[in-house]
């Protein structure tokens, strides 16, 4: 069972997440490394988004949400009192289900993170960061002549790539993607998937998806969640061709979901 790797970026041990009295995640242990894209799949309400949001403590903002167990980033407990949550979220970036650019210019959208974290010494350096982030997100060619336009004026797919550029502008180590293509058309989806492919290896990427074909296309490792439990975790090719668990097999063959 490939639940542990030699050099994990994020490793979780016996994690439980509660919303009030309700247990949303039950005893999940997973390792995520830099070289692979990890996909979380499972039917609606299985807890995959909840688990993802506990990896950068976005669940902190939800009243009544509580996390038990250990979540380690480079061996450091992210729920320890010594961990600064603002810095954690800069290191563990996030891309959301619905593209949510700020109602500011394209430039300001990308420059916002570096500005608040003081990553650029001057205007020239900031320009440099913005350009390289937009280039990595595959958006530079489309927007380089209109960086002053509002980020919300872009198409849905462009907005989502802008959000990815915004996340990588602060030079994170991990990028969490919460169903990043569910609001996009097939062409825009294909571009995002290409982008994920290009970003692999530079960042540890975790993607939550409803779409099993997508998980098969973009990820090297897949975790299957059901009713808050981690059913199976392993090589993507293994999961899709030769699942060990019946529930996994039923899900990927479309028996339920």
């Amino acid at each position: 069972m490939a639940e542990t790797t030699a050099n994990p970026k994020i490793s979780t041990r016996n994690v439980n997440v509660y919303y009030g009295e309700k247990k949303a995640i039950d005893n999940v242990s997973i390792d995520v490394d830099m070289d692979n894209v990890t996909a979380f799949i499972g039917p609606s309400g299985c807890g995959k988004s909840t688990f993802l949001r506990s990896l950068n403590r976005m669940n902190d903002t939800i009243v009544g949400a509580r996390v038990e167990g250990n979540i380690l980033l480079d061996g450091q407990d992210i729920y320890a009192s010594s961990m600064d949550v603002v810095q954690l979220r800069a290191r563990v970036g996030m891309v959301f289900q619905k593209p949510n650019p700020f109602p500011k210019s394209i430039y300001d959208n990308v420059a916002y993170g570096p500005r608040i974290h003081g990553l650029a010494a001057g205007k020239a350096e900031l320009d440099q960061i913005v350009e390289s982030a937009l280039t990595r997100a595959g958006l530079w060619g489309e927007v380089k002549d209109r960086l002053g336009d509002s980020g919300t004026a872009l198409s849905g797919g462009q907005q989502q790539r802008l959000c990815i550029a915004r996340a990588i502008a602060v030079d994170p180590e991990v990028i969490l993607m919460d169903e990043p293509c569910s609001a996009l058309d097939p062409i825009a989806t294909a571009r995002i998937e290409e982008l994920i492919h290009d970003l692999r290896g530079k960042y540890a990427i975790i993607i939550v998806t409803h779409n099993m074909q997508q998980a098969a296309r973009v990820s090297q490792r897949t975790a299957f969640f059901h009713l808050g439990n981690l059913i199976e975790f392993g090589e993507t090719s293994e999961i899709f061709t030769n699942p060990r668990e019946d529930r996994t097999k039923d899900y990927i063959t479309g028996r339920y979901g």
């Binding site: 976005m58 009243v63 979220r89 970036g93 619905k98 949510n100 700020f102 915004r166």
Partner: protein, 434 residues
């Protein structure tokens, strides 16, 4: 899926068994009647809407018409031509003596009221001095100070007429005044002029000498205090309650209290101001400071409620986006939530401020109904406000105050329009295009 399809099929079978399968007759008489009825309902609704709009337009037109008809006359004054033989009257004052640093002393020593009285009685007989308003001497003094050359020759000066004469010239006045007006008009000694005194002066017992400036300045200062206090406190309260405060019984109670506070009659706030600011803290009576504090108490809940709604309407996805790249909660609030909520907050603020500007009752309670013969120089000086001034003038028996009241209402409305225009400008400036 299969279960679903089955149940649908069963329902279909049952329906076929019980309902007559004749097709709907879309052109039949019953259908046509339904259509006609629907059209009639549409027409009725449109007509009622039109009547409602027409009625409200009519009311507005009526208000503006009467206000302007009455009030515009308040900005005019009747002037009487008076001949001044300055060399004789001033026993040879020179232009040089009333210029330069000593001008004031010389003018003070000249007994201008006496000179005016003499000049008028020479021209119009013993009753002549009753033609002019009490402020006429001050006008003459101002004219001489502005143009010292006047003193070297014979001059005809137009001086403001006394109030009853003013009323008689503009519309129907007392019979005696009407007679005087007719006599003066024959000599071409009456004309209408713009009443600058009304814009620059303060309250007076003589309606032809009153001005609105003192009340305007009082309102301005009161509003400044109100805005300075109610806006920041209201906005911070709204932000804290929405973004930081834990959702529990205590915050629920605070919310209910604030909502109730916004509905408390304004005179209660006046009593509160009287009890707290005047009696307990011993602040100066009738001052713009206390007026502003009292109105701030009244305006704050309105700003808090509007502010909370504006903050609530900022989409949560923006907060998540900012938090997701490591913005601290304060940065989320000040970089994203507040700028997006500001247009809404400003709209609420202007509603609260407009209400405060027109408020009379609480100001009466804290003594701002005093007779204020000169504009307040500071926030602790005795002052009055526009609505209070209107209230006081509308109570006067003298006919001359009628048009002054309307004129003051026009000034108040212009103040209000100016404030609204500023708010709309600010709102459009901060409005984010999505």
């Amino acid at each position: 899926m299969s279960l679903c399809a089955w149940s649908n099929a069963i329902v279909k079978l049952m329906n076929n068994a019980t309902i007559d399968p004749t097709p709907t007759d879309w052109n039949g008489a019953v259908m046509q009647k339904r259509i006609a009825k629907r059209y009639a309902a549409e027409r009725r609704f449109k007509a009622m809407g039109f009547i409602a709009v027409a009625l409200s337009t009519l009311f507005l037109a009526f208000l503006l018409f009467t206000m302007l008809g009455q009030g515009l006359r308040g900005f005019q004054r009747t002037e009487v031509a008076v001949e001044f033989d300055f060399p004789a009257l001033t026993s040879g004052a020179t232009a040089a003596s009333i210029t330069g640093p000593n001008a004031d002393t010389t003018l003070n020593s000249m007994d201008i009221p006496g000179i005016v009285e003499l000049a008028v009685s020479q021209q119009y007989g013993d009753q002549g001095s009753e033609l002019l308003t009490s402020a006429a001497a001050a006008n003459v003094r101002q004219m001489l100070a502005d143009n010292p050359q006047l003193v070297t020759a014979k001059q005809t000066l137009w001086l403001p007429a006394e109030s009853r004469l003013d009323v008689a010239y503009k519309r129907k006045g007392e019979p005696a005044s009407e007679k005087t007006v007719a006599a003066l008009e024959q000599k071409d000694a009456l004309r209408s002029g713009f009443n600058w005194t009304f814009l620059t002066g303060a309250d007076a017992t003589d309606p032809s000498a009153v001005g609105i400036w003192a009340a305007f300045k009082g309102s301005l200062m009161t509003m400044a205090i109100t805005l300075l206090l109610a806006f920041p406190v209201g906005v911070f309260a709204a932000l804290y309650l929405e973004e930081y405060a834990p959702k529990n019984k205590l915050t629920d109670m605070i919310e209910v209290s604030i909502n109730n506070l916004a509905a408390v009659p304004s005179i209660i706030f006046g009593l509160l101001g009287l009890a707290v600011f005047l009696t307990m803290f011993g602040m100066p009576r009738s001052s713009a400071l206390v007026g502003g504090l009292t109105l701030a108490l009244m305006t704050m809940p309105v700003i808090v409620i509007a502010g909370r709604n504006a903050v609530k309407s900022v989409p949560p996805s923006i907060r998540e986006a900012a938090l997701g790249i490591g913005a601290s909660p304060v940065q989320v609030v000040f970089h994203h939530v507040l700028p997006l909520a500001l247009p809404g907050i400003l709209t609420g603020t202007i509603i609260g401020m407009a209400r405060a500007l027109g408020e009379t009752a609480p100001l009466l309670m804290i003594g701002m109904r005093a007779f204020i013969p000169s504009p307040p120089q500071g926030f602790t000086d005795a002052a009055t406000a526009l609505p209070v001034q209107i209230y006081l003038w509308s109570d006067e028996v003298n006919q001359g105050f009628v048009e002054k009241t309307s004129a003051a209402i026009i000034v108040l409305l212009i103040f209000l329009l100016g404030m609204n225009a500023l708010a709309i400008y600010l709102r459009n400036r901060f409005e984010t295009r999505w």
